[in-house]
């Protein structure tokens, strides 16, 4: 069992090292998660588990979006040592929108514009060490933005 954990750690460390050169995009990009058509599948692809609701993740988004092609959202995590923030739109054709990884003084904060196919929850998952925290916010979409 310990040997297995060691080997898993080794694989993880190797993956982290491979992460650094930015040329092999296809190898870095999380195809399984991004191409999943369900929220559950996308989260599985990101290895997100046992996520806990948190009030320390702030999502600023319009209650109603006129045009789903461009919905501006601002996300902040006030949880110390937040390493990454992932954005999901549950009812989009592919649920995972983006995943942001912060290091060397980058704050767990992003303003981005996303596409929304229909009224849905916008879900944010923060990675803090091996733990995951989540918050959601409903955005009503008046016009489909996925074409």
């Amino acid at each position: 069992m310990q040997r297995r954990h060691f080997l898993q750690g080794l694989v993880g460390a190797t993956a982290a090292l491979l992460w650094l050169p930015l040329n092999a995009i296809a190898a870095i990009w999380n195809k399984a998660a991004f191409e999943s058509t369900t929220l559950e599948g996308a989260e599985q692809g990101m290895a997100i588990s046992k996520e806990k609701p948190s009030k320390d993740i702030i999502i600023v988004a319009p209650d109603k979006a006129e045009n789903g092609a461009v919905v501006q959202i601002e996300i902040t995590s006030n949880i110390p040592n937040t390493e990454a923030l992932a954005i999901f739109v549950e009812k989009n054709p592919t649920a995972l929108i983006s995943n942001y990884m912060f290091s060397n003084g980058a704050q767990p904060f992003v303003v981005t514009r996303i596409k929304m196919a229909e009224t849905s929850d916008v879900k944010v998952v923060a990675k803090v060490g091996s733990e995951y925290f989540t918050a959601s916010r409903r955005v009503e979409v008046l016009e489909n933005g996925c074409g």
Partner: protein, 105 residues
């Protein structure tokens, strides 16, 4: 290729606010043209940012990011004159980068 990323980095108190606007079609691969042909997916998959050459942000994107992507992020510990660079790579192998210096707000 330098003009398809517009950037600004301003030091505000202890936080440097970096605003980025990229030119990219961000095609999902699900849209059809007037001839009812599917427009192939063409989207940015990876965005990286560095401060004085050191990685600060790595973003993986799917097709759900809006056309001509806009991004703001915050850096702590940057000073006026420090260099912030942003690079994107898309699913067709194209990429672009832009570097600017941090300015006072």
């Amino acid at each position: 290729m330098a003009n398809d990323i517009k950037m600004r980095a301003q030091l505000k108190g202890e936080i440097t606010e970096v605003k980025v606007l990229m030119s990219h079609p961000m095609e999902t691969g699900r849209r059809k043209n007037d001839l009812d042909e599917v427009i192939p997916a063409h989207f940015v998959q990876l965005v990286t940012a560095t401060l004085n050459g050191k990685a600060v942000l790595e973003a993986q994107w799917g097709t759900g990011v809006s056309k001509n992507p806009y991004l703001t992020f915050h850096l702590k510990g940057a000073k006026v004159g420090d260099l912030v660079a942003v690079t994107w790579h898309d699913n067709k192998g194209a990429s672009s980068s832009h570097e600017i210096a941090v300015t006072a707000a």
